[in-house]
Subunit: 501 residues, 2 copies
């Protein structure tokens, strides 16, 4: 493992893709709105409405075109794509009630249905139809069978891209409108993280299908050197520093300490023992990667009411006086992950559909250049080297990434200059404690392409189900988003009225 | 040949694609800004500047990605795509002078360079760079060799689509900007007919690359039943009727007369003789198709100063008193096509790269449902039957068309409702005598997505080179377009200034 390797909270495809683990030196952090690991401090009982609503979900499958942009015979193949509808509160077509559509991202849809509450929570108010659509190649929407098989097939894998995915959404949404006779029902697309990018891109590319987009925690600017490489880890660092200078400093010092111990005779045994690792450490990077990811997950999913960063720092700072740096770091682990007989340093590395799919996406199209310089974060340096990254992707997948295509197709450079007078109706929402907010849109681009930020917020909080424990600032954030969307709808209905006259 | 067959001024691929001629019952009119046949009445000496400027064209080739939306190994293949630059008047990057880019359509670029004068005519005024880009699969931009071979290959043909074409333009324009160090130079895209659609779609899909679009004679609404089927032929009919009621009535009566003569013993010989056809007619449809196309070409390219429709009608109406209907129609042919020893009824049918390529485009993606009902035009009925059309395309190419994809990807339905508050900086220009204006945008959609129409104009006149014989209304149309574009640029430069401050 090279020293420049940045391991995040990606679930590594250790089992499925063993070669990649060796060859790709940079991992791109996952962009999901939620993270099971991150939810370990969250009490599901806090959620107000999930179970009451989920029984109203109806699952459908759409016969989806494999390739929307190609007319070769093989492009006409179709696969079953899953979408889920809740029509319990739907006001019906005569009232032109709105449709809220969640654009699935790099995960099976089931996971999203359980946590993305924005649509259902607001359905009674808007009398809206709630539609959740699964992203191609995840969950039950893998073309022609199993994800594992699909991902092994270089030709089939080629169809796995964001442009195809939003074209899928376009087709399904027109299909749903037709099915519900909802020709003039405005559609608002909602997405979080990578799905938030998809939502904003969808509004820009398909304004005739979606009236507006709520793009939660969408780092649309973390491409092609628009955002400084170290944006992500700078915010992780800041999150810790703001909670406790001492905690931050301890973490910053810890890497050298770990290396020092590791270099001693039987150093790895000492480390394994002190960190109570479930299996013996083979090298110090295993431990450092685990810690690195743990801090990042804590920062990205720094949810109320527990605030994981605070929990980690409580452990580090609260260790008995005289505890050394290693001991304090371990206390942070215990505080965050609970008292266990042993700690699995691979906890963040187990492969999943998401990790396998996301690995490909970030190695082909969604190239996010995240890196770290010397001393610009609390982590060891790990600069992003595009050349090296491209090489490792090519070695593994046989094709290189296209790092400039995202900005060619969707834009991003000089975004204010471009969108100040083009487009409309996008909310970019960000919590400023979310490391991915470094690549987000944090200021209004125009009157109707606006930024909604919360200084204490983390990743995608606004689109999760409301919870009893939600702080006021989160309640207000959602309220503001609803008001903006109501404004879009009001204008739309009055335009519709005027044109029909 | 079925009675519903609509033959237009498509150059039929008689030689290359003999089967198709038998099987496709509807031909989609060509959408080129110019038509060699149509220029037979135009005097090249009238053009003010062509030859003086064309020597400044420099040809380049860009290594273009075969498939922008797919990541299979075969998608990474590249082909040489031609583009041509005239930098004679270019003000350079320090002044952020604009770039005017002509988006090539269904023809080799050479043809366009000769006639599309809008860029060069205005270059001295704007100090602009002129860039002409060839559409993939035409001219010198056919992937991997000859057009004929490419079109026979069902897999290769699959890459021949509009979405790929505008993605090509995006890559080349970014490349040109980079090459000329013109990062902040605004790009205005210009296109005519199908190329005009591409220009408007380009502005909508790639606003970060083009600041604005001049979409000349772009029937963006002639899809998916947005425009009535008979829109095209209604205007052809109106054009003739407005020039002469008598001429219109003679043409209207002629079809039955032709059929009557044809049904006589030796009727086809009589017709062949009366129309001085170069080869003996095999059936009356050959003659009717020729006439149908001739009227349509005359109407679509009803250019000043000669006005072909007037020329045809002069022949028809000016025949000596007592001339029968057949004789008058023939007089119209002579008047329009000149005094010849014989008349080739296949004149509009000879295959060309354009006809072969356009045939595929209209049979896969650009499905334009043009038809005629009973008595709603001066032509025999020939309704468009999507089912039959799709079947014949499938029979010939092995894959069916995707008639709804264009509106799914680019929109079109309820265009005012959608674009009134989305997007900016598009001019839809139309001459109202152009039959394709029936599918054009003829009213302002918003403050900056505007329609510029001329009641006497025909297809794409505004983007041709200025000519000494240009009537005032054409001069004024161009002037208005220039003023609008100047407005876009002014706003852009002031936005740029404000953001840099």
């Amino acid at each position: 493992m090279t020293p420049s390797r940045v391991l995040l909270f990606q679930f590594y495809p250790l089992l499925l893709l063993p070669l990649l683990l060796q060859s790709v030196s940079h991992k791109i952090p996952r962009l999901s709105p939620h993270n099971k690991e991150a939810l370990i401090l969250r009490n599901p009982d806090d959620v107000i409405s999930t179970s009451a609503i989920s029984k109203d979900f109806k699952t459908h499958f759409y016969s989806q075109t494999l390739d929307h942009f190609n007319y070769a015979p093989q492009s006409y193949a179709t696969f079953r794509q899953r979408y889920v509808v809740n029509s319990k509160y739907w006001g019906g077509p005569t009232s032109n009630s709105p449709i809220f559509a969640y654009l699935g991202a790099e995960a099976p849809l089931d996971e999203d249905q359980e946590v993305i509450g924005f649509l259902n929570d607001n359905a009674p108010h808007f009398k809206s139809l709630s539609v959740y659509i699964e992203h191609r190649f995840y969950g039950k929407s893998v073309p022609f069978g199993k994800m594992e098989d699909a991902m092994k097939n270089a030709t089939l894998r080629g169809y796995f891209s964001s442009a195809q995915a939003i074209a899928d959404y376009a087709e399904i949404l027109l299909h749903v409108k037709h099915k519900f006779a909802a020709h003039y029902s405005p559609i608002i697309v909602v997405g979080g993280s990578y799905g938030g990018k998809l939502a904003s891109w969808f509004r820009l590319k398909y304004p005739h299908i979606a009236l507006g987009a709520l793009a939660s925690s969408a780092p649309v600017l973390y491409f092609d050197n628009i955002t400084p490489q170290n944006g992500y880890y700078s915010i992780v660092t800041k999150d810790f520093e703001e909670v406790s200078k001492n905690c931050y400093q301890t973490i910053k010092n810890s890497w050298a300490e770990i290396d020092k111990v590791a270099s001693k005779p039987k150093g790895l045994s000492i480390l394994s023992q002190r960190f109570k690792t479930c299996s013996h450490l083979n090298n110090s990077d295993e431990l450092k990667d685990f810690l690195d990811t743990m801090y990042s997950v804590a920062a990205q999913y720094n949810h109320p009411p527990t605030y994981p960063v605070t929990v980690v720092c409580k452990g580090i700072d609260g260790a008995p006086a005289g505890t050394d740096v290693i001991g304090r770091i371990f206390a942070g682990v215990v505080s965050y992950r609970g008292n266990r007989t042993c700690y699995d340093t691979n906890a963040y590395n187990y492969p999943s559909e998401t990790s396998v799919g996301w690995e490909w996406q970030t190695c082909s199209e969604i190239v996010i250049p995240i890196g770290r310089g010397e001393n610009d974060t609390m982590f060891p340096a790990a600069p992003f080297d595009l050349h090296e990254f491209a090489k490792s992707c090519k070695d593994f997948y046989g094709v290189p990434p296209r790092p400039h295509w995202i900005t060619t197709y969707y834009g991003g450079h000089d975004i204010k200059l471009v969108l100040n007078r083009f487009g409309s109706n996008i909310i970019f929402s960000n919590g400023l404690r979310d490391p991915y907010s470094s690549g987000g849109v944090l200021e209004d681009l125009s009157e109707s392409i606006v930024a909604v930020t919360t200084p204490k917020g983390s990743h995608c909080l606004d689109i999760l189900y409301s919870a009893k424990t939600d702080p006021d600032w989160l309640i207000l954030q959602r309220k503001r988003e609803i008001e903006i969307i109501e404004g879009w709808l009001k204008t739309y209905y009055s335009d519709l009225q005027a044109l029909k006259r």
